[in-house]
Symmetry: C2
């Protein structure tokens, strides 16, 4: 099952130098989750071959324009294509009013927008289905803001087919083995689960740490995450600016990644003051070597 | 003085195939007028080196999303750059509410938005300064819609310098000659204006005919226009669709251009159903040969 992140826009507030504002798409199997939706996100979906009609859930970290101004255009395009499937939108409060004010002149949408508002001050499970769960990550920004932790649900253990034959296991016995139980055979023998099954691949995870000042409280929430996107609006040369605007430097993002024992860090949300963004990677790598420079169109696959 | 139109987005509602939704910039000398502002217009301004801070007037033809969804992002970027100069926005009624609902979460803008609403049912002068005037063109669409005619004001006649010396003309006499008067010299001789001045270059004009069904009533309003942009959402193969949605075909746009005796026609607002848009030019050229295929990034200079 594919677990892949595509960066639609890697820039901060102002689009510049070919970088669009914040938007990402996480693919988990056949599910596509849109995370933030800056202006032009739907254009980037075309550019990068994202099947936009497979998006059924949208997660918005906060209501600054560079994270939401792409929503009306996306919905408008869905309407033109006669979409009927509802869309769920998870966001801090206030988004519904912003969106509805934009859509009214065009009339009713042919599909339902289902708004789920969450409290950004606590970490909470806001979405789950058979394979995935999404938990909010409270952040520290100028307005209520939360990141998101996407986590695969643990899969059942894998049955070893030859053992089914060897012990002539019934369906209920197989089901029990898959959830880790030892099996009592009809002849009284007890077979250890470890002989019957092998461990499934470990669940994969992605943490989206959107606009935030340096904030160590998120570390326990994202510990051992496979892929960590952490905003890096500035480098240390503009740390004063980072503090005033409640953003992070690349060095700070690297520190969070190191403390959380992340497998990989992706930078992004670059201030337009930086034309050459290579400096962000270099700075983060001084404390967290496995850092990659997030750029529009880059795709990150997480393998087991 | 430069008179040049840049296409920022040539597509209809849904961005597709590298074509952004509707937005154009008309440069007249040192003035830059933004005409419609679909999603991503500010990104296109960066792409095509339009100095966005020189835009002080924005003209919106109607409130469908593909013509206005780029406004909040543009204003947001201006705010980040500490713009203080007001912006005038000319539009049908209702735009203010759409915009304000988007900007509230980000707080106050550091510059003023001055909304001028116009009645789309009559042709009216809505803007003028020393060099330019803008007149609305009532159109026929699903919601109130108007196009715009941009026209240079007639310039004074050009004084022939050698005649100033020959007749020892005073400043008041020169001023009178420039507006076309004959001059009475102190010695009683009367000099014909045609001996003192030559005609200025003729005023240039551009007509922006946004979303509309075929509508011959605009012809007298745009007669002899230098540059005519007329929407061409469909070709004749989809004329039924054009009628239902109140859009025009390329053939219809060509007919309007021919009837109006335009110098040049530019097509645009292509439906995403068309991947190859060359057909639009071919179809319009059957009735109006001097047709150019409008595409993102193309620039049209109007010379005298």
């Amino acid at each position: 099952m594919r677990f892949a992140l595509t960066i639609l826009g890697a820039n901060a507030a102002m689009p510049a130098s070919g970088r669009f504002p914040s938007a990402q798409v996480l693919q988990i199997g056949n599910q596509f989750f849109l995370i933030d939706c800056g202006e032009g996100a739907q254009i980037r979906m075309s550019d990068f071959q994202i099947p936009r009609y497979k998006i059924n859930q949208i997660f918005i970290s906060h209501l600054h324009g560079d994270h939401v101004f792409g929503l009306p255009g996306l919905f408008f395009s869905y309407a033109l294509n006669d979409r009927v499937k509802p869309i769920e939108i998870f966001s801090p409060s206030g988004l519904r009013e912003m969106i509805m004010a934009q859509l009214n002149p065009g009339g009713q949408l042919p599909f339902q927008l289902v708004f789920h508002e969450f409290d950004t001050s606590v970490s909470k499970l806001i979405f789950e289905n058979d394979t995935v769960e999404v938990v909010t990550l409270p952040l520290l920004h100028r307005i209520p803001t939360a990141g998101f932790l996407f986590r695969e649900k643990p899969k059942p253990r894998n049955m070893l087919p030859e053992k089914i034959l060897e012990y002539d296991l019934s369906i209920p016995q197989i089901k029990a083995a898959k959830v880790g139980e030892d099996i009592l055979l009809n002849d009284g023998r007890k077979i250890q689960n470890s002989e019957l099954t092998k461990a499934p691949p470990p669940p994969r995870s992605f943490a989206y740490v959107s606009d935030t000042a340096y904030y160590e409280k998120i570390v326990p929430l994202i510990r051992d995450v496979d892929l960590l996107y952490h905003e890096t609006t500035f480098c240390e040369d503009l740390i004063d600016m980072a503090q005033v605007t409640m953003h992070s430097t690349a060095l700070q993002a690297g520190r969070i990644a190191a403390m959380a024992n992340a497998r990989k860090l992706i930078t992004g949300h670059y201030s337009s003051r930086y034309r050459d963004v290579e400096v962000f990677r270099a700075e983060a790598q001084t404390v967290f070597p496995n850092t990659d420079l997030g750029l529009d169109g880059k795709v990150y696959e997480v393998t087991n």
